[in-house]
C-alpha cells in the first residue's frame, strides 16, 4: 500500500487537532506517514502512532523556527522524491497553504486547497464560494498535494505505534532568504482557536458596541466553551478585532455548532460559516437571510435572549 504523507501542524510539540484528523483521512487512501518538522517530536510520536501513523518522519532543527515555510517544503519535496507517496495531505492553515503551493511548484504537481474530504482514489471534495457549490476535483499531474480543512473528519485512535525515521534538514538558499528575528505573541483569550473550535458564538451589527461583545457575546461563548466570531459589520465598526472576522474575507469556519447573534446573513458572512453542522440564530428581523440557514432560530432581541441563555447554560454546570 502506498504511503500518504501527512504534515503535522504543532506548536512546540503540541499537536493540533487537524493533524490527527488528517491521519484518519490518510488511512482511507493508503498507509499514513506523519511528517513532523521542528522541535518537540519526542513527545508527539506515541500520539501520532496511536492515531494511525505507521511512520513518523522527523526533521528537527533551528531552521524550522528561523525561516518561513521553505524548510518544511524542502523536507516534503525530498520525501516525495524518495517515497513516491499516493498523496501529501497538509492542514489548510495560512502556512499550510503556502507550503502546499511551493511544494507543488517544487515537485511539478497539482495542488488542491481547502478539501473537506478525499476519497480512496484521491478525488477531493471542496465547498467553494462559501459552501454554495460542492466541487469534486483531482490532481492530474504529479503527486497530489491537498490541503484539508479542520473539522472535516473525526480523528481515529487505532492503538497503534509508529516507527521514527529521522530526516536530515539542511537550510537551502531559498529557505535562508528569510529570517525570523522576533516572535511576538498577543494576549491569548483562553478561548479555543476560532478556526478549530467545535462551537463558535458570533456577533454582528445587532450587538451594537464593543461593550456588547464583552458583556453579551463573550459570556455566552465562555459558558459553551466556544470561540468568539464577528461579522464584517462588527469588525469594520471596531467593536471586535479583525482577526475574529468570519466571512468571505476573513476566516472560514465549519464548527459543530454556530450561534449567530444579530447577524443578518449577507453572502459576505454566509460564505464563512454556511458549512457549519448546526446553526442557531438570534435576530430581531424575522426576514434576515441568516434564518434560511438556521436549524433553530429565535426572532427576538439578543440583548435579552443571549444573557438569559448564558445564565441557563451556566446553571446546568
Amino acid at each position: 500500500m502506498s504511503e500518504v504523507l501527512v504534515l503535522i501542524e504543532h506548536s512546540e510539540g503540541n499537536i493540533k487537532k487537524v493533524s490527527l484528523e488528517l491521519l484518519a483521512m490518510a488511512a482511507g487512501i493508503g498507509e499514513p506517514s506523519a511528517v513532523f518538522v521542528g522541535p518537540g517530536a519526542d513527545a508527539a510520536i506515541a500520539t501520532l502512532g496511536d492515531h494511525g501513523a505507521k511512520t513518523v518522519y522527523v526533521a528537527d532543527g533551528q531552521a524550522f523556527l528561523d525561516h518561513v515555510v521553505v524548510p518544511t517544503v524542502d523536507v516534503l519535496a525530498k520525501l516525495v522524491a524518495e517515497k513516491s507517496p499516493a498523496a501529501v495531505l497538509i492542514p489548510s492553515s495560512a502556512d499550510g497553504k503556502e507550503i502546499a503551493g511551493r511544494l507543488a511548484v517544487a515537485i511539478d504537481s497539482g495542488v488542491i486547497t481547502d478539501a473537506v474530504a478525499v476519497s480512496a482514489d484521491v478525488v477531493a471534495t471542496q465547498n467553494v464560494f462559501g459552501g454554495a457549490t460542492i466541487v469534486h476535483s483531482r490532481v492530474s499531474k504529479g503527486t497530489p498535494v491537498i490541503t484539508v480543512r479542520t473539522n472535516s473528519i473525526a480523528p481515529v485512535q487505532s492503538g497503534g505505534s509508529a516507527t521514527r525515521v529521522d530526516v536530515a534538514a539542511e537550510v537551502s538558499a531559498a529557505a535562508g532568504a528569510t529570517k525570523v528575528v522576533n516572535r511576538v505573541s498577543v494576549q491569548k483569550s483562553g478561548r479555543p482557536d476560532l478556526s478549530e473550535a467545535a462551537i463558535v458564538v458570533s456577533g454582528g451589527r445587532g450587538v451594537g458596541s464593543d461593550e456588547g461583545f464583552a458583556s453579551v457575546i463573550e459570556p455566552l461563548a465562555d459558558s459553551l466553551g466556544a470561540a468568539v466570531g464577528a461579522s464584517r459589520a462588527a469588525t469594520d465598526a471596531g467593536w471586535y478585532p479583525h482577526q475574529f472576522q468570519v466571512g468571505q474575507t476573513g476566516k472560514t469556519v465549519s464548527p459543530q455548532l454556530y450561534v449567530a447573534n444579530g447577524i443578518s446573513g449577507a453572502i459576505q458572512h454566509r460564505a464563512g460559516m454556511q458549512t457549519s453542522k448546526t446553526v442557531v440564530v438570534v435576530n430581531k428581523d424575522a426576514d434576515a437571510p441568516i434564518f434560511d440557514l438556521a436549524d433553530f432560530g429565535v426572532v427576538g432581541d439578543l440583548h435579552s435572549v443571549v444573557p438569559d441563555l448564558t445564565a441557563r447554560v451556566n446553571a446546568r454546570k
Binding site: V68, G101, A104, V111, I112, T133, V280
Partner: protein
C-alpha cells in the same frame, strides 16, 4: 524603488458566485467584476512606500480582455503604469499556470518589490504569492500586516495564529499583505484622469515567451470532475421570542447534546 503590484479581477465579493456548466470554470459574467479587494491593500502599501521615498508602482494583471479595466482601476489609486497579460489560451489556468505566467512576465524587469493581496476573494487559495516567490527564487515575505523598507532591507510582520513573526530579508522580494493592513485610498479625480493616459503594456503568451501548452484548462495540473449547487438546507424551526426564547434554545441545545 520599483514596485509591481499583482492584482486579480474577481466577481464582487458581495455577489453570489457560480461555475459555468460548460467547463467548470468561474462564471465571470454572473457578477460585477471588481479588483480583488485584498489587492487594494497591496496597492495602497506600495503607494505609501514610494511616497515615503521615491519610485514607481506598476500594476500587473493576468486575465481576459475585461481585466484591463481592473488594471486601470488599480492605477487610478495613484500608480504609474500597467501590464495586462491576456491570451485566449490562458482560459481555465490554475494557480500553477498563473504563477508561471506572472513569474515570466516579471522576470528581468528589475522590480525591487513584487506585491500581492494575501488571497483572492473568489478562489481563496492563498498560494500564488508563495508560488511566484518559488519560481523567481526571491524571498517569500508573505501575510504581512506591516511592511518596512530600509535601504535594501525589508522587514515585515507576518501574521500568525499567536500574533506575528518579525521577518527580515533583502530586496528584491515577494510580499503579500493581509486585509486591514492599511486604509486603501479612493481614487482622486486627478488620478482617475491620469490613469486613462498611463502607459499600459498588453502582452500575449508569446510576448512573455510562454507556450500555450504550458497553461490553460487543458494543461492544468488539476481538474474539476463535477460540481453541484449545495442543496438548500431543510427549513429549521424559527420561533418568536415571548420571553421564552432562551429557554427554547436551551431545549434545542439539550436535544442536540451540545449542553
Amino acid at each position: 524603488m520599483k514596485i509591481c503590484v499583482c492584482v486579480k479581477q474577481v466577481p464582487d465579493s458581495w455577489a453570489e458566485k457560480k461555475l459555468t456548466a460548460a467547463d467548470s470554470t468561474l462564471d465571470r459574467a454572473a457578477a460585477d467584476r471588481v479588483v480583488n479587494e485584498l489587492d487594494e491593500y497591496a496597492v495602497e502599501e506600495a503607494l505609501r512606500i514610494v511616497e515615503a521615498g521615491e519610485g514607481e508602482v506598476t500594476i500587473l494583471s493576468m486575465g481576459p480582455d475585461e481585466a484591463a479595466d481592473s488594471v486601470r482601476k488599480a492605477i487610478s489609486m495613484g500608480a504609474h503604469a500597467g501590464i495586462h497579460i491576456s491570451d485566449p489560451a490562458l482560459h481555465g489556468s490554475d494557480a500553477l499556470a498563473t504563477s508561471l505566467v506572472l513569474a515570466k512576465a516579471l522576470e528581468g524587469r528589475g522590480f525591487d518589490l513584487i506585491m500581492f493581496g494575501s488571497e483572492s476573494t473568489d478562489a481563496r487559495m492563498s498560494v500564488v504569492p508563495a508560488m511566484v516567490s518559488a519560481r523567481l527564487g526571491l524571498p517569500q515575505m508573505t501575510f504581512a500586516n506591516k511592511v518596512e523598507v530600509s535601504g535594501s532591507n525589508l522587514t515585515i510582520h507576518r501574521v500568525t495564529d499567536y500574533g506575528y513573526d518579525e521577518v527580515q530579508s533583502s530586496l528584491p522580494a515577494v510580499v503579500s499583505v493581509v486585509e486591514k493592513t492599511n486604509e486603501p485610498r479612493y481614487p482622486s479625480f486627478k488620478n482617475i484622469m491620469a490613469a486613462k493616459k498611463a502607459p499600459m503594456e498588453t502582452l500575449s503568451l508569446a510576448d512573455i515567451g510562454l507556450d500555450a501548452a504550458a497553461v490553460g484548462l487543458a494543461n492544468a495540473w488539476s481538474e474539476v470532475k463535477d460540481f453541484a449547487e449545495r442543496p438548500a438546507k431543510a427549513k429549521g424551526t424559527v420561533i418568536t421570542d415571548e420571553g421564552n426564547g432562551a429557554e427554547k434554545i436551551e431545549e434545542f441545545l439539550v436535544t442536540q447534546k451540545f449542553i
